[in-house]
Amino acid sequence: MREKSVKCERAMLVALLAFAVIALFVGTVAAVTHTEVESVTRTIEPDVVEPDAEFEVTLSITYTELPLVVGIVETMPEGYSFVNCPTEIPAGQCSASGDKVAFTVICKEGETGISEITYTVTAPSTGRGTFEGEFVDLLVLTPGYIDEDTGELHLEKLEERLLPIEGETMNRVRAVGEGAGAIEEGVTATPTPVPYVSTVTKASRSIPVLETGKEVATTFKDMDVSMIALKPDADASNVEVKIEKVERTPDIPEPSGTAYMYLDIAVENAGAAKIAGKVEFKVANSWIADNSIDEATVKLNRYDETGGNWNALPTSKVGEDDATVLFEAQTPRFSLFGVTGEKKEEVEAAAAAAATPAATAAPAAMQKPTPSPTAPPTPASKVPGFEVIFAVVSLLIVYTTVFRKRGKKGGNVK
């Protein structure tokens, strides 16, 4: 009981502290910016859809009090199409143009507040997409600034007023062969690989606001990297993401496996925040086919400058199209990355080796030394087996000759 009471007191103390911190924060924000709309958060339901299916995207608006006038714009991913305006607002308060759809939510004081709008989207037959959006609280007053060149008055710099919509960004169409059910029926075999060449090798993005623990994604077109998501452990603003396809320099060792490409991804101006995140990247079908790469072994590897070694990151296939296979990997930091895969025969050989007794000679493929910057390559003759058996047998001999003489309690030998 007492333990429970102490736990309860601790919980209350933590809650009170949290409330005090939040109250202080909210008070400060209100005093400085008069912002009523705290955030707009997206929910995509479901995040994996059948080909050509309709699904719903919900935007939740968090605000403290009415009145509310907020403008929202969503950018549909390529191949996705907007279907229906939200029913929560009059149809006239929604307008689509190209890949964009704009909404405005207007509630005067005394009216019923609207805190959620849901619109409908149709998915493409294959692939995946990232939703992006921004909102602006139109009731925030600021003195603004005067452009020194033109003398024109601007309320704020646009990038400071338009805030990113948070929450879920990804949707994908159920991949060919994925899961059980009718989706597999009638599906043709793996499509014939078509040549894929990325046209952009360098890009950068500016992210105005990163909030602690909240993931913000940014997409890239015509690049080997299609999306990067950032998740900071502290608030940061005006963070720059720079991505460049690079060549490995001689001072950096080769990663394990067959290398496909190297990417230098830098996150700048994050201050003290440590930024983890996700990288979504494309691998050309042609490379996989030409090099007999086992798709399941494709990995994103992060180069650890401190240790001078490569670390394979958790990587999974998330989609494909006629020319590429799309993978997503989680990374604790951003730095130099290498995409690698293993040849099918290597994988098969490794699997065979694992199932073979140690005394059996290792296949030739397994004898290839694994490069490591910290330790010299292990010679093929050092394959463990005999030494281990010898050590175990020796120990057994020592045990039977010494310990058994001492008896169970290990008394003195006289």
């Binding site: 005093a31 009145p67 509310l68 006038v69 403008g71 929202i72 714009v73 006239g92 308060q93 929604c94 307008s95 143009s97 964009k100 704009a102 909404f103 405005t104 207007i106 005067k108 004081e109 602006v136 139109l138 009731l139 925030v140 007053l141 600021t142 003195p143 603004g144 005067i146 003398g151 008055l153 601007h154 309320l155 704020e156 646009l158 007023r161």
Partner: protein
């Protein structure tokens, strides 16, 4: 009467003549229509607002018009704001006030700071800059509460504003000093920008409502008015119980309008009345009338208060005590001559409130013996200016009487 009439005509002529330099080419900086009001009928409907927002969200552009339209729809019911200022002028505002130029003296500056809207200032008049913001030996709460204002562009004086500078700052409203409405009209006509006359008339606190409405700070305005009334009640609850024949007769020496003279006084001084004193000059015509010394002798005040607390003093306590003509006056015989804060380029209701407590303790020492007027003064000024210790700082920099 005839002389007064001639003087009035001459003054008006001089005033208007001095306003001639104000005539500059009207600028189209301020459109007299609500942004987003597509049919220009003076009322912004929800459909018109939606038709302004959606194209902006899809195609980008500037937020100025869209944001202003949203604000007017949400807070002004889609119509322009119409206010009657302290000079009884009707002023129409077609945009929410985000940028303010205080052209007239200090009252507009003080009230805007006290309402928590100092961040809306985009320029500052040179009186405020010179006398209330730049470093000096005398006390100014503005210097502590909003020192950043000293770096704003100088928009000229309250009688000679620099309209070119004002226009370049693109204010949504200009504040002018209440007693000179002709200047306000001239500025408005020549710039197209709405000019609202703001000035304090002692403890008439309605001006906070006017400024609060213009600045979108209505809640803060009501908060300050309620607070001020509660503070006044703290004093009147005590003084109202004291028989009027026990109230001291008080004569104030005025330093208003540039010259301090023993014979210049205040015909009205609210803190004095609230504190339980009888203003011997009450009811005299004019704001700061001049009287004869014989009149002061006839009034025979118990207490004399001299306007201004910071040295050097144009009229000091010693000047009064040593004035040979006044030796028969009770206040002089008893040495009851003190300084009081009074006006400072306009009037500050916040310091006026503190004077209520100061005078109450001075007039009725027994009834207010437990009052810590320094602590009370600090509390009042913190409420209005948001800064600790302002009253103590004032006392440190002044010659005013201070209780131990």
């Amino acid at each position: 009467m005839r002389t007064k009439g001639i003087i009035s005509i001459v003054l008006v002529t001089v005033l208007l003549a001095s306003a001639v330099p104000l005539a500059v080419t009207p600028a189209a900086a301020y459109e007299k229509k609500i942004p987003g009001d597509a049919n220009e009928n003076g009322e912004l409907t929800k459909d018109e607002l939606v038709n302004a927002i959606l194209p902006y969200m899809l195609d980008g552009g500037t937020l100025d018009d869209v944001g202003d339209a949203a604000y007017i729809y949400a807070y002004w019911d889609g119509e322009p704001m119409r206010v009657t200022d302290v000079a009884k002028r009707n002023v129409v505002l077609c945009r929410p006030v985000e940028r303010v130029v205080p052209a007239g003296l200090l009252d507009g500056v003080r009230i805007t700071i006290q309402l928590g809207a100092a961040d809306k200032f985009v320029g500052i008049n040179n009186f405020a800059k010179r006398y209330a913001l730049m470093p000096s030996g005398y006390w100014s709460p503005i210097r502590d509460a909003a020192s950043e204002l000293k770096d704003l562009p100088d928009v000229g004086g309250y009688r000679d504003p620099n309209l070119e500078v004002i226009l370049s700052l693109k204010p949504d409203v200009i504040f002018e000093y209440g007693p000179i409405p002709d200047f306000a009209n001239t500025i408005q006509e020549n710039t197209g920008i709405p000019v609202v006359c703001i000035s304090n008339s002692q403890l008439d606190l309605d001006v906070y409502r006017l400024a609060g409405e213009v600045l979108g700070k209505e809640e803060r305005a009501e908060e300050l008015i309620s607070y001020a009334n509660e503070e006044i009640a703290k004093v009147t609850e005590v003084t109202s119980e004291i028989p009027e024949d026990e109230w001291p007769r008080v004569y104030c020496i005025s330093g208003c309008e540039g010259l301090t003279m023993i014979t210049k006084t205040w015909s009205r001084y609210d803190p004095l009345d609230i504190a339980g004193g009888i203003n011997v000059a009450e009811g005299l015509p004019g704001f700061s009338p001049i009287v004869l010394k014989t009149q002061i002798i006839d009034w025979n005040p118990d207490i004399i208060l001299i306007h201004g607390v910071s040295p050097p003093h144009a009229v000091s306590i010693d000047d009064v005590l040593e004035d040979l003509d006044l030796q028969t006056v009770n206040a002089v015989k008893n040495g009851s001559v003190n300084y009081t804060k009074g006006y400072m380029i306009g009037w500050d209701p916040a310091t006026g409130l503190t004077e209520c407590f100061y005078m109450a303790k001075l007039f009725h020492p027994d009834e207010f013996k437990d009052l810590d007027e320094e602590e009370e003064g600090n509390e009042i000024l913190k409420k209005f200016y948001g800064v600790d210790g302002l009253y103590t700082k004032m006392l440190d920099l002044s010659d005013r009487y201070r209780w131990e």
